[in-house]
């Protein structure tokens, strides 16, 4: 008997250790994020019908088209398989109002990937969350189109006597402009005015639990973010529960601020990042020109990531006690 039997030296490889790899891949992570967004997508379809589906598809087309084009220009294999452009597309769509024209959705998706990601060098290189870059671009360029809300299906019998269905405001608008507070149960279920994905906190939370259970996201950023918002709301004399459930906070805290590429990698850094996001969100909501602050809070904190990491390097095993060297 010879050992050479079944041994094919042409397929024997000599790579560096380790020789085993975890089954978790980028593609699997992105797939899990897309699965976690399904309840929110389903809620959007339920509340806003076919228009919601069209907006999501248009945003996806813009994002994935830009990803493919950027790879083409750089003579690289088209990386759509990793699923990251699809995640950006869906996230951006969930930030758009249900009245958004399809060209706007497409443009936003293309900008998010083209300017938010590709110009930095593609996956892993972008400083800012691409979906939020897309949203910030649209809000700045098309402010009217980006703030035209409408009532979702079966919504708000409690409010309909006072407000016109076309000029529907979001709960944060109502609070800021009219001093009217939307009931919690409406916020939780999503029977309020708002973007496709930010209306139903419950649908988002189901997805968030999935991400936590699958260990795709760490609890530190969303928990510190939401806790900071709640605490500041209490200190400022407004209703903490309302501020947590209203607007894009749940979507932002669990799905945007937790973006790997544009967030910190250290544990303490994640806590700090979440606290900073919460602080900025409340400052913008209470004192800023916009009723909503999640987008700019996260984008601002994205820029602070290198600084945060510098001050939150983990304590080296065997280093002097409490040294950060």
């Amino acid at each position: 008997m010879s050992v050479e039997e079944n041994l094919d030296k042409s397929t024997l490889t000599l790579t560096s250790s380790p020789h085993l790899r975890s089954p978790v891949t980028v593609r699997r992570i992105m797939t899990d994020v897309l699965i976690a967004l399904l309840p929110a997508v389903a809620a959007a379809l339920y509340f806003f019908g076919g228009q919601a589906l069209a907006i999501i598809l248009a945003t996806l087309a813009g994002a994935m088209g830009a990803e493919a084009l950027a790879a083409r220009i750089r003579h690289q294999p088209i990386p759509l398989r990793d699923g990251s452009a699809a995640v950006t597309g869906v996230l951006l769509a969930l930030c758009l109002p249900p009245t958004a024209p399809l060209w706007l959705a497409f443009l936003g998706g293309a900008f998010a990937i083209g300017i938010g990601k590709a110009v930095f060098g593609g996956l892993g290189m972008n400083v800012f969350n691409p979906a939020l870059v897309g949203r910030a671009f649209l809000v700045a360029s098309f402010p009217v189109l980006m703030t035209s809300w409408r009532w979702p299906a079966g919504a708000g019998a409690w409010m309909q006597q006072g407000f016109d269905a076309v000029a529907t405001a979001t709960p944060l608008d109502l609070l800021a402009l009219e001093g009217v507070q939307t009931p919690y149960v409406e916020l939780l279920l999503g029977r309020v005015g708002g973007s496709l994905g930010e209306t139903s906190a419950l649908a988002l939370l189901i997805g968030a639990v999935y991400l936590l259970v699958r260990e795709i996201i760490d609890w530190r950023i969303p928990v510190s973010y939401i806790a900071t918002v709640a605490m500041l709301a209490a200190i400022m004399g407004t209703d903490p529960t309302f501020h947590v459930l209203a607007g894009g906070l749940i979507l932002g805290a669990f799905f945007m601020a937790t973006d790997y590429v544009s967030g910190p990698v250290t544990k303490r850094g994640k806590l700090l990042f979440g606290v900073g996001c919460g602080l900025l969100t409340m400052l913008i909501r209470q004192f800023g020109g916009y009723p909503e602050g999640v987008t700019y809070a996260i984008l601002f904190m994205n820029a602070a990531v290198p600084l945060i990491e510098r001050f939150t390097k983990p304590r080296l095993f065997g280093a002097e006690v409490d040294s950060n060297e």
């Binding site: 079944n6 397929t11 490889t13 085993l20 996956l123 990698v265």
Partner: protein, 438 residues
């Protein structure tokens, strides 16, 4: 059972069941052994024999005056064919003594005379001397000369000896089998090590995936003041620094050694070798190796001669069941991939693992997505993603020399990045800078 552990680490699949229940099988002397003159960390040996010499089994064939080194012995009786060269599993070409076996395993008269010794009659220096003469090095893989571990600087006091029975590398079961089959020899080795170091406390650490070994060792220490401690099954539980931290809550200082905090860690297989060296003046010429992997026909544990070609072990295991993608000397997390089946088993070789194309990691690298899995997995709390950057100036700021190369970061990386390989580059740069400045 209370279970101890360390921070960080990963949970790879273990595949221990492939060989865990196979009793250690003694393989006969091969026709020829290749004894590398360096099988350890430290200075290489010089040949003490010439081509054509007759050698007895256990006879010294290479030695040196350097302190951090260990002599090498003939693992068969026969004729020195040549002083030649061999590759080690890590690819280094080193000088080696090649001995043609006469198949008789004849031992030298001097060795036979020394076979009646007791631990009681020996002092610490005698034990250290016996360990050095037997050429014992760490058998868990690192191959650090064992007598050096027992020789602390005068101001250092060793209080605790830890025997490492974790065997946290996936697939490997040689230490598991040794604990089941040679528990008493392990305990007698521990006694000798305690005496050599003047330590008061003796611990044996075993992962909780080996309850039968825990039971066997507890039975063996029943009349001794030693404790058997159960540890979580987590990689790299058996890394020296992590094991000490898990058992004693003491951290080996950055850049330091276990000796600095009064601890000596030895593998259970090393303890067996120490026991034999002390009681019977028996040199280290055989060791237990696990031959396993999903591409091996009959995975098993074998006791083989140091210097036996890897081919002999694979033949004894029936060869390959399918084309292997990777043949590894050592475990799959820290071992080295090999190509040549005629390179020898050394004192530090704990396993030969053949992985199929399904199991071996060979996916191509993707971009780092900064997911932080490597940061969370690192048992030393390093930031592997930054240590692995090609920009060495930046990478050097992240404590490269503290990396123990356990591979946890590469294992968890969803982008299949070769983090350990890159960190080795950073380490080499850091070492070169250190040497330049000193």
């Amino acid at each position: 059972m209370s279970v101890k552990t360390f921070a960080g680490g990963v949970h790879p699949p273990y595949y221990k069941e492939l060989s865990a229940s196979s009793q250690i099988e003694d393989l006969p002397a091969p026709q020829q052994v290749i004894i590398p003159l360096i099988q350890h960390i430290g200075a290489p040996c010089q040949p003490t024999v010439e081509a054509g010499d007759e050698v007895a089994m256990g006879e010294v064939v290479g030695d040196t005056d350097a302190f951090v080194s260990a002599p090498v012995h003939a693992s068969v009786s026969g004729t020195v064919k040549e002083i030649g060269e061999t590759a080690l599993p890590d690819g280094r070409k080193v000088q080696a003594i090649i001995i043609e076996s006469d198949g008789e395993d004849r031992i030298s008269g001097e060795a036979a005379l020394q076979q009646q010794r007791t631990l009681q009659s020996m002092n610490a220096d005698d034990i250290r001397d016996a360990v050095r003469k037997a050429g014992i090095v760490g058998m868990g893989g690192a191959a650090f000369p064992t007598h050096v571990k027992y020789s602390p600087p005068p101001e250092t006091d060793i209080d605790t000896i830890i025997l490492n029975g974790c065997e946290c590398e996936p697939f490997l079961t040689c230490d598991h089998r040794i604990m089941l089959e040679e528990a008493d020899e392990i305990v007698s080795g521990l006694q000798a090590i305690m005496k050599a170091c003047g330590a008061e406390r003796g611990l044996i650490g075993i992962e909780d995936n080996k309850p039968d070994a825990v039971e066997a060792m507890r039975e063996a220490v029943r009349d001794h003041p030693y404790q058997v401690e159960v540890l979580e099954t987590k990689y790299p539980e058996g890394a020296e620094k992590q094991l000490i931290d898990a058992l004693l809550g003491r951290e080996v200082p950055s850049g330091g050694l276990p000796l600095d905090i009064g601890v000596v860690v030895n593998n259970v297989a090393t303890a067996v070798a120490v026991s034999r060296a002390v009681k019977r003046a028996e040199p280290l010429t055989k060791r237990v190796v696990t031959v396993t992997g999903d591409a091996v026909k009959q995975p098993k544990n074998v006791r083989v001669r140091v210097g036996a070609p890897i081919r002999q072990l694979l033949e004894a295991s029936g060869g390959f069941s399918e084309a292997p993608a990777r043949i590894i000397s050592g475990g799959p997390m820290m071992g080295t991939a090999i190509y040549d089946l005629d390179i020898p088993i050394t004192k530090g070789t704990s396993g030969i693992v053949a992985l199929s194309h399904q199991l071996a990691a060979d996916a191509s690298e993707e971009a780092c997505i900064r997911c932080a899995r490597c940061v969370e997995a690192c048992p030393i709390s390093l930031m592997p993603l930054y240590l692995a950057e090609y920009d060495q100036e930046s990478a050097l700021q992240y404590n490269p020399l503290d990396c123990i190369e356990c591979g946890s970061c590469s294992y968890v990386c969803p982008s299949n990045r070769q983090l350990v390989q890159r960190i080795r580059l950073t380490k080499a740069t850091a070492q070169a800078e250190q040497e330049d400045s000193s």
